[in-house]
């Protein structure tokens, strides 16, 4: 599903954000990407979305060879995956329903399909009754659920969440995480970049830890911090 082969990313200001990263994420996986701010988590996600060009190596996402793809192919790569951000990125002057439908309009879906898919996605995130409200009338957690509905409305095989709970209180964060797990159970590959130690620790999913641009740990059923206290001394 996603494969990084010897990937390095150096920004034009000289910062080495990722160095020699090798990763493989399979279909149906649920993966946490953890690390401090500035560790390279966000760069990793930007590379998957082709928001940034990589400096070295190869990246494959959903069968696209991201490393060598042309500008005109980028929209099709992005349609094959759903994305959720920390700041929700909803359109304030569109209703909840229209925000979700918008993702289908730009892919030129049939109106019939839009009428079927949008209520389904809103139902999945539990917002059917708020379809006619505007994002400004919703709480942070609800807004993030709208963003989730928008991300999954086109039935992508892959869902990427960049700090999805960064702006939310702990209870709401749990709701969002549970939704992500639900979505994963329906067969979608889910990648979550996060700081939330307690959530990562209790969910026991695969954890990829990044520090200073290096993958320092890749662990099935992992936790936020390495349980082996001596770990840091021998890397």
């Amino acid at each position: 599903m996603i494969e990084f082969i010897n990937v390095s990313k150096k920004y034009s200001n000289g910062t080495l954000a990722l160095s020699n990263v090798n990763l493989k994420i399979n279909k149906g996986d649920f993966v946490f990407i953890v690390g401090q701010s500035g560790s390279g988590k966000t760069t990793l996600i930007k590379l998957i979305l082709k928001e940034e060009d990589l400096t070295e190596g190869e990246i494959f996402v959903n069968g696209y060879e991201v490393s060598s793809m042309s500008r005109s192919e980028i929209p099709y790569l992005r349609r094959s995956l759903g994305v959720v951000f920390q700041d929700f990125r909803l359109l304030p002057d569109k209703t909840v329903y229209d925000n979700v439908a918008f993702a289908m309009q730009i892919t030129e879906s049939l109106p019939k399909e839009i009428r079927r898919q949008v209520p389904m996605a809103l139902g999945l995130v539990g917002l059917s009754r708020k379809a006619d409200m505007y994002p400004g009338q919703l709480s942070g957690g609800e807004q993030q659920r709208v963003a989730l509905a928008r991300a999954i409305v086109n039935n992508p095989a892959l869902l990427i969440a960049d700090e999805p709970t960064g702006n939310l209180d702990p209870d709401t964060s749990w709701e969002i995480m549970k939704l992500l797990v639900d979505i994963n159970h329906r067969g979608t590959t889910v990648i979550v970049a996060t700081h939330e130690k307690s959530i990562v620790d209790s969910l026991k999913k695969r954890v990829i830890a990044i520090d200073k641009g290096l993958v320092v740990r890749d662990q099935q059923k992992g936790t936020y911090e390495n349980e082996d206290k001596n770990y840091k001394t021998y890397i």
């Binding site: 928001e51 929209p75 790569l77 992005r78 349609r79 990125r89 359109l91 993702a103 730009i106 030129e108």
Partner: protein
């Protein structure tokens, strides 16, 4: 592209124009100004070309006798013309023929001639030259003949007007180019404001997989709408303006009796001018947007 996508694009484009009322209005005004100025020159040129064409159809040279010259005098002039070897052909225009011609030219206004006989008109001769190069010399020669009032040679006027028209054409193309560039610049600024106001929306669209063209088209539609409205307003202004000027000029021309020159009627020019306006307006509008959006699409 699917029909609902086209619908979406037009809806967004129109919304953009409306949301940005003040700048849209400013852009429309500048398009109106540019096109109107272009149009004024263009219509002057059309009229000059029209008259040059008419003048070219005129006899090569016309010799007018003095109005009071009697038949004998006319005969003497005619003989002198016949004997000149520079002249290929001579045709006489009698007072009666001249009178009929004037009547024809006045058309509906012919009633002003009632009660007037043809004695105020001169007899004239229409001459064809063997060699146009001789024209200047021949004119001097003919003017010296007794009983000749004046000699006209439209060909000379034609040359002069042609040169003049050419000059106007150059001035017009420079002026129009400058104005159109200014228009493109101002429209591009207007679009920039819309793009700026919607940059968040654009970036979200890019994240969820909108193609560049899907994002670009509404802004192009916005530019074209501005250009189109501008061209229609300019068309109305110059249409009414031209009509007023044309009626005035035609009246003046009738009063002075200048028959050779005439002004084109509005209907004769409107189709050509309208098409040019609309095409120019839309091109200006579209190029204004295309130049702007490019840099905002990089997400």
């Amino acid at each position: 592209m699917k029909i609902r996508t086209i619908k979406h694009i037009f809806k967004e484009g129109i919304t953009n124009v409306y949301r940005n009322k003040l700048m849209s209005l400013a852009s429309i005004s500048i398009v109106v100004a540019s096109l109107t100025i272009f149009g004024i020159f263009y219509m002057i040129i059309l009229n000059f070309n029209h008259n040059v064409g008419k003048l070219k159809d005129q006899p090569e040279m016309q010799v007018f006798c003095l109005t009071e010259l009697d038949d004998v005098g006319v005969k003497i002039v005619e003989d002198a013309l016949m004997q000149n070897e520079k002249i290929k052909q001579v045709a006489i225009v009698t007072k009666e023929q001249a009178f009929e011609k004037v009547k024809d030219m006045l058309g509906d206004n012919a009633s002003v001639l009632e009660g007037i006989d043809n004695s105020f008109l001169p007899v004239s001769f229409i001459i064809k030259l063997n060699n146009p190069e001789d024209s200047a010399m021949l004119m001097d020669e003919l003017e010296k003949i007794n009983g000749v009032d004046k000699v006209t040679y439209p060909q000379k006027t034609v040359e002069f007007i042609s040169k003049f028209t050419h000059g106007i054409q150059i001035v017009n193309s420079i002026l129009t180019t400058v104005l159109l560039v200014v228009s493109v610049f101002i429209i591009s600024n207007t679009i920039k404001l819309t793009v700026f106001a919607r940059r968040r929306e654009i970036s979200i669209m890019k994240y969820i997989g909108a193609t560049d063209w899907f994002i670009r088209w509404p802004f192009i539609v916005e530019g074209v709408i501005i250009g189109f409205i501008g061209s229609i307003v300019a068309l109305l202004i110059s249409g009414y303006g031209y009509n007023a000027v044309e009626m005035r000029f035609t009246k003046e021309l009738l009063m002075t009796g200048t028959s050779i020159i005439s002004i084109l009627k509005l209907n004769d020019v409107s189709a050509r001018v309208a098409l040019l306006y609309i095409v120019l307006g839309c091109i200006v509008g579209a190029s204004g947007s295309v130049t702007t959006i490019r840099k905002y699409l990089k997400v």
